[in-house]
C-alpha cells in the first residue's frame, strides 16, 4: 500500500472579534457535530465540556465606558516548535498527537487513560475531562452522529477541527480523483454555523486561501503568543485593549508582533 504524497497543510482559523456577537452558535454547532455530552447542571464551567467556548472580555473601565468583546476559543492546535505542542509532549500514552500532514492536534480517546497531564499543560483550557459517563435521555441517542465516537468516563476530549469532516471531504475528493481539497470542501462545524461570518478556516500556508492573507492583518494577534505555543488560531480586533487581553503585557509594552505560520 503506498500512500500518495500530499502537500503539507497547516489548518487554522482567523476569528474576527469585530464581527463576533457572542451568540454562541459555534459552541452548539460543535456540540451537535461531535456528540458532546451534557448534564442537568452545566453551570460549573470547569466541568462543563465545551470544545468551543465563547469567553466574554471587558476593558475594565467603569460605567458607561465599559466595553465588552466576545472571544471564541477552540483548541489552538499549537504547532509549538516543529510540532511540539504543549499537550502532545506531555502525553504518556501518545493519545494526542501533532499530525504533520494537516497540522491538527488529534485526540485519540481509545488511547487516553485519563492522567490529565495534557490538561495541565494546555495554557488555553481547551481540554476537558469526562468526570462522568455520558447519559442521553431515552431516545435522544438517536441524534448522535456516527462520525464521532461518544466518549466515556475517564478520558480527555477537545476540539479536533472536526477532523472527521476532513476525512469525509478527502475521501470524496479522492473518489473524484483529486489529491488536494478545495478551500470550501473542508470547514469545521463552528465555522459553517457562525451567523456573523466571524470565523474563517483554511490552510494558513496556502497563498490562495483566505486565512493566509487574513493572518497578516494589522489587527491580528494570537493568545499567549509569547509562550511559544505557536497557536493556529489568529484573532482580529481593531481594539487595542482586546489585543492586549490576548497576552500578559507590561503597561508600557507594545502589542502587534505576530509571527506567522510559514
Amino acid at each position: 500500500m503506498t500512500q500518495e504524497y500530499r502537500k503539507e497543510k497547516k489548518y487554522g482559523m482567523v476569528i474576527d472579534l469585530d464581527k463576533c456577537t457572542g451568540c454562541g452558535a459555534c459552541m452548539v454547532a460543535c456540540m451537535a457535530e461531535n456528540n458532546v455530552p451534557f448534564r442537568d447542571n452545566e453551570t460549573d464551567k470547569l466541568k462543563s465540556i465545551t470544545w468551543m467556548r465563547v469567553y466574554q472580555l471587558n476593558n475594565g473601565k467603569s460605567y458607561p465606558n465599559e466595553e465588552i468583546c466576545y472571544l471564541p476559543r477552540p483548541c489552538m492546535h499549537c504547532e509549538g516548535h516543529n510540532g511540539h505542542s504543549p499537550c502532545v509532549t506531555v502525553c504518556p500514552a501518545i493519545a494526542t498527537d501533532y499530525d504533520r500532514e494537516t497540522g491538527i492536534v488529534s485526540q485519540i480517546i481509545t488511547r487516553c487513560f485519563g492522567c490529565r497531564y495534557c490538561m495541565g499543560a494546555c495554557p488555553y483550557h481547551a481540554r476537558y475531562f469526562n468526570w462522568w459517563d455520558p447519559v442521553w435521555p431515552d431516545g435522544m441517542e438517536k441524534s448522535l452522529s456516527p462520525n464521532v465516537s461518544p466518549r466515556m468516563r475517564g478520558v480527555v476530549e477537545k476540539c479536533t477541527f472536526c477532523f472527521h469532516r476532513y476525512q469525509l471531504a478527502y475521501e470524496k475528493a479522492a473518489s473524484e480523483g483529486r489529491r488536494e481539497l478545495r478551500e470550501n470542501e473542508y470547514q469545521p462545524s463552528c465555522t459553517q454555523a457562525c451567523p456573523a461570518g466571524a470565523i474563517t478556516f483554511g490552510d494558513l500556508i496556502n497563498k490562495n486561501q483566505a486565512v493566509y492573507k487574513m493572518k497578516k492583518d494589522p489587527r491580528a494577534f494570537r493568545l499567549l503568543e509569547r509562550l511559544g505555543t505557536n497557536p493556529k488560531i489568529y484573532y482580529l480586533s481593531s481594539r487595542e485593549w482586546v489585543r492586549r487581553a490576548g497576552d500578559n503585557y507590561h503597561p508600557d509594552e507594545e502589542t502587534g508582533i505576530v509571527k506567522n505560520h510559514r
Partner: protein, 715 residues
C-alpha cells in the same frame, strides 16, 4: 478486586518513575485503556446513508432556512441553509438544538387526559370524540361564545384554521399575543381596516438609530439582523444604540447611549426637536406620508428642548444635538424600535415618537428605510358558512375587551364560566404571559383546557387534554415570516422523518373535529385532511414552496394604499410610566434578552442551557446585574443573595456587579424559571414574567410594561 480507572492511575504514577525507559508500561497503558473503555453503556451510533433535506425552522419567529442532516432515518444535525434569504447559512443556538427537541424527553407521545392531576394515555378516537361531544353540548346550550382559542401567531394556516373553527362554531374569542407590529399598525391611519407591518430595509441603511432594539440579541429575525449588523461594520453604516444596559447590541454599536430606562420616547422627541429646529426634515415626504405634523411640530418645539430631555434621559444635550444632526444629514438613516427581542408592544406615544424620526427625514417606503407593508394575506380558502347559532355567538362581545390576550386572565377571574373551553396552539401562555401566577390561577378556573403542544410545557401540564402536534421536523406547514424583513416570506416545513410517536397534525385535528360536528361547521372545512387544505390555501404558492421551501412576497407601495402615519401629540409633561411605589421600591427592574436564552414558547434544549454563562445562572440561581454603587448602597456584595421584590412577587436572586448598567437599575435575564419541560430546564432560575404585570397603554390598551419598580434586600 475491582480496579477502577482512578485507582489504576495512582498505581501507574508510582510505577512510572522506575520504568520510564522500558517500552512495557506504554504498551500496558494502551492495553489497559482499551480494557477500561469497553463500557457497554456508551452508545455506538449506527452508521448509515447520509442525506440532507431543506426545511424551515419554526422555533422562533425568525423563519430561518435549515438543512437537516440524516443518517438513514435519524436526524443527527441541523445546519443553516445556504443562500436562504433570511439566514444565508447561519444558524442560532436554538435552531441547532432542534434534534434534542425532536428526540428529547419533553415530547408528548400520545393524546393525554388529565385525570385528577395525572396524565393518562388515551387513543385519538377517545380524545376526539370526547372533545367533539363537549363542543356539541356547549353549542347546544347556546354558549358557543365561551369557547376560546389562543394561538402563537395570527398568521399561517394552522392559526387560521383555529380561528376559522371558532368562527364557524360561533365564538369571536380567538387571541394571540400582541407585539410591536400592533403598535406600529395603530400609529397609522389604515386605508380599509387593514394592518400595517413595518419592514426595515436595514441592509441599505447608512445610519441606524436603535431605541433598545436587540439587533444582536434576537430582535425580529435574529440571524438576518446579525448579518445586517455585520454588513454595517464592513460598510460605513453607523449604529447608535439607546439602551440602559450594555447589551450585546450596545457592545457592537459605534456609540452606546445609556439612557435611563423607559425614557426612549422622550429622547426620540429631543432628537426630533433638533431636526425640526435645524430644518433637517423633508416637508414633501411628510405631507405625503402623514397627518398632524404642524401641531406636533409646535408641541415638540415647545416641550422637548435638548436640555430638558437631557435631564430626564441622562443623555447629555450635546450628544442629543449631534445625533439629531447626524440623523438629519445622513442619506439613508433609519430609526428602529422594539426593546430587546421586540416581544413587548410599545405605547403609542413611544411608537409614534420614534417612528416620527423616520417620517421626518422621509425614509418611509424608500431604500434603506422603513416600509409600510400590508398584512401578507396569502391564504385562499372558500368562504366560511355560518348558521344562526354561529351568527348569534359571533355577535357577543369578546371576553377580553379589544381582543387583547393580556386581559383574558382578569376577565376569566371576574366572570366565572366566561370561558368554558380553551384551545392553545403553538403558545405557552402559562409561561410567557406576565403576572404569570395570576395567569395560571385564571387558567385553572377554565373547566376544560386543550393543548396542542408537541412538548410538555407549562400550559400543557395544566391542561385537561393534550392533543400533541407533530414536531416541526415531522410535518408540513407554511411558516409566514414578517419579523421586520423588508419583504415578508412564506417558509415551509416538511416531514424530515416520519412521526416518531402517536401525534397528529393540529390542522388535521381541527379539520376532523369540525367535520365530525357536521352542519355548517363541517361544510366550512371541505377538505379531507390538512395537506389538502394547505395546498388549497396556498394556491399559486404551493409549487414554489414544495420545490424551494421559501417564497418572498414582494410588495411595491402605491400611493392609494399607503397607510398614513398619525403624529401623536406628545404630553407636555414628559413621563415614564412604571408600576409600583417609588418610595419603598426605588430600583427599576428591566429584562435582559439574549440569543442564548429562549424566552418564547419553546423552552431551551440541553445544548442551549450549556451555553449560558455563569453570570446568568449558577446551579438553580438566577443572577441579576447591578452597578457596584447600587450594591454599596444596599450593603450587597458580588455573589451574595438578595430578595428581589416587585409589586407582583418576590424572589431570591444572586448578585453580579456590573459596569454595564447604570445605578438603581436591575437587569434580569428573561427566559429562565420554567417549571415544565425536562430536568435540564425545569427549576433553573426565575421566570421574569412572574415579577412583572401588564401595564396598559392609555391609547391602545396594549400591554406595554417594559419594566417595574423593585427593591433589593440582602438575604
Amino acid at each position: 478486586m475491582k480496579i477502577d480507572r482512578r485507582c489504576f492511575l495512582s498505581l501507574g504514577i508510582g510505577a512510572t518513575a522506575g520504568t520510564a525507559l522500558s517500552p512495557l508500561p506504554w504498551k500496558l497503558m494502551d492495553d489497559i485503556s482499551i480494557w477500561s473503555q469497553n463500557w457497554p453503556w456508551t452508545p455506538v451510533p449506527p452508521d448509515g446513508e447520509i442525506s440532507y433535506t431543506d426545511s424551515t425552522c419554526t422555533l422562533c419567529p425568525g423563519g430561518c432556512g435549515i438543512t437537516v442532516r440524516k443518517i438513514d432515518n435519524r436526524v443527527v444535525k441541523i445546519e443553516g441553509r445556504k443562500n436562504h434569504p433570511v439566514n444565508n447559512g447561519g444558524i442560532c443556538v436554538l435552531g441547532l438544538s432542534g434534534p434534542q427537541l425532536l428526540y428529547g424527553p419533553t415530547r408528548v407521545q400520545s393524546p393525554m387526559k388529565n385525570v385528577n392531576g395525572t396524565f393518562q394515555k388515551i387513543t385519538w378516537n377517545q380524545a376526539l370524540s370526547e372533545i367533539t361531544e363537549k363542543l356539541l353540548t356547549i353549542r347546544a346550550e347556546g354558549r358557543s361564545h365561551t369557547v376560546a382559542g389562543i394561538a402563537g401567531s395570527s398568521r399561517g394556516t394552522v392559526p387560521a384554521l383555529l380561528q376559522r373553527f371558532l368562527t364557524a362554531y360561533g365564538s369571536p374569542n380567538f387571541y394571540c399575543q400582541s407585539s410591536i407590529e400592533d403598535s406600529f399598525s395603530l400609529s397609522h391611519i389604515q386605508p380599509q381596516n387593514n394592518k400595517t407591518i413595518p419592514g426595515f430595509d436595514l441592509e441599505n441603511a447608512d445610519y441606524v438609530l436603535s431605541f433598545g432594539t436587540g439587533i444582536m440579541d434576537g430582535w425580529g429575525s435574529p440571524l438576518r439582523m446579525i448579518q445586517a449588523g455585520n454588513a454595517w461594520k464592513t460598510g460605513k453604516t453607523k449604529l447608535i444604540q439607546v439602551e440602559p444596559r450594555l447589551s450585546d447590541t450596545a457592545a457592537k454599536s459605534d456609540e452606546w447611549l445609556p439612557s435611563k430606562p423607559g425614557t426612549e420616547a422622550i429622547l426620540a422627541l429631543g432628537i426630533a426637536h433638533v431636526i425640526l429646529l435645524e430644518s433637517l426634515y423633508d416637508q414633501t415626504a411628510i405631507n405625503y406620508h402623514s397627518e398632524g405634523f404642524s401641531t406636533w411640530r409646535t408641541a415638540v418645539l415647545a416641550h422637548y428642548h435638548p436640555d430638558k430631555v437631557a435631564e430626564i434621559t441622562g443623555i447629555d444635550s450635546r450628544t442629543i444635538i449631534t445625533v439629531g444632526r447626524e440623523f438629519g444629514h445622513a442619506e439613508r438613516p433609519v430609526a428602529i424600535f422594539g426593546r430587546g427581542k421586540g416581544n413587548t408592544p410599545l405605547s403609542l406615544t413611544e411608537m409614534s415618537a420614534v417612528h416620527a424620526l423616520n417620517v421626518l427625514v422621509g425614509n418611509v417606503n424608500k431604500t434603506g428605510g422603513v416600509f409600510t407593508l400590508p398584512e401578507p394575506n396569502y391564504i385562499s380558502w372558500p368562504e366560511i358558512s355560518l348558521d344562526t347559532k354561529a351568527e348569534t355567538g359571533l355577535q357577543t362581545k369578546q371576553i377580553a375587551e379589544g381582543g387583547l390576550l393580556h386581559r383574558l386572565p382578569s376577565a376569566i377571574k371576574e366572570a366565572e364560566d366566561s370561558v368554558t373551553l380553551l384551545f392553545v396552539a403553538d403558545a405557552n401562555p402559562c409561561y410567557t404571559l406576565t403576572d404569570t401566577k395570576e395567569v395560571i390561577r385564571a387558567f385553572k378556573k377554565i373547566p376544560f383546557k386543550v393543548s396542542f403542544s408537541s412538548y410538555m410545557d407549562e400550559t400543557a401540564t395544566l391542561s385537561d387534554l393534550i392533543l400533541p402536534n407533530h414536531s416541526y421536523l415531522e410535518r408540513y406547514e407554511d411558516v409566514p415570516v414578517t419579523s421586520g424583513l423588508r419583504n415578508p416570506l412564506i417558509g415551509f416545513t416538511k416531514p424530515i422523518v416520519n412521526p416518531l410517536f402517536q401525534t397528529k397534525h393540529t390542522g388535521d385535528v381541527i379539520i376532523s373535529i369540525a367535520r365530525a360536528m357536521k352542519g355548517s361547521i363541517g361544510s366550512s372545512f371541505p377538505w379531507e385532511n390538512y395537506l389538502q387544505c394547505l395546498k388549497n390555501g396556498l394556491g399559486q404558492h404551493w409549487n414554489p414552496l414544495i420545490n424551494n421551501d421559501v417564497v418572498e412576497i414582494k410588495y411595491v407601495p402605491e400611493f392609494e394604499d399607503i397607510p398614513r402615519f398619525a403624529f401623536q401629540i406628545p404630553n407636555d409633561k414628559p413621563q415614564v410610566l412604571l408600576e409600583g411605589n417609588e418610595n419603598n421600591m426605588n430600583l427599576t427592574l428591566i429584562p435582559s434578552d439574549s440569543l442564548r436564552l429562549s424566552s418564547g414558547y419553546i423552552g431551551a434544549p440541553p445544548f442551549m442551557m450549556k451555553t449560558l454563562p455563569d453570570t446568568i445562572l449558577t446551579d438553580n440561581n438566577t443572577i441579576i446585574q447591578i452597578h457596584p454603587k447600587t450594591a454599596e448602597k444596599l450593603g450587597l456584595r458580588q455573589g451574595c443573595y438578595a430578595i428581589l421584590k416587585t409589586p407582583k412577587d418576590e424572589k431570591k436572586v444572586k448578585i453580579h456587579l456590573s459596569q454595564g448598567i447604570g445605578e438603581d437599575i436591575i437587569s434580569f435575564p428573561r427566559g429562565l424559571g420554567h417549571t415544565a419541560y425536562d430536568r435540564y430546564l425545569a427549576g433553573k432560575g426565575i421566570n421574569f414574567n412572574e415579577l412583572i404585570g401588564p401595564v396598559e397603554d392609555t391609547f391602545s390598551g396594549l400591554d406595554v410594561a417594559w419594566g417595574i419598580r423593585a427593591s433589593l434586600i440582602k438575604a
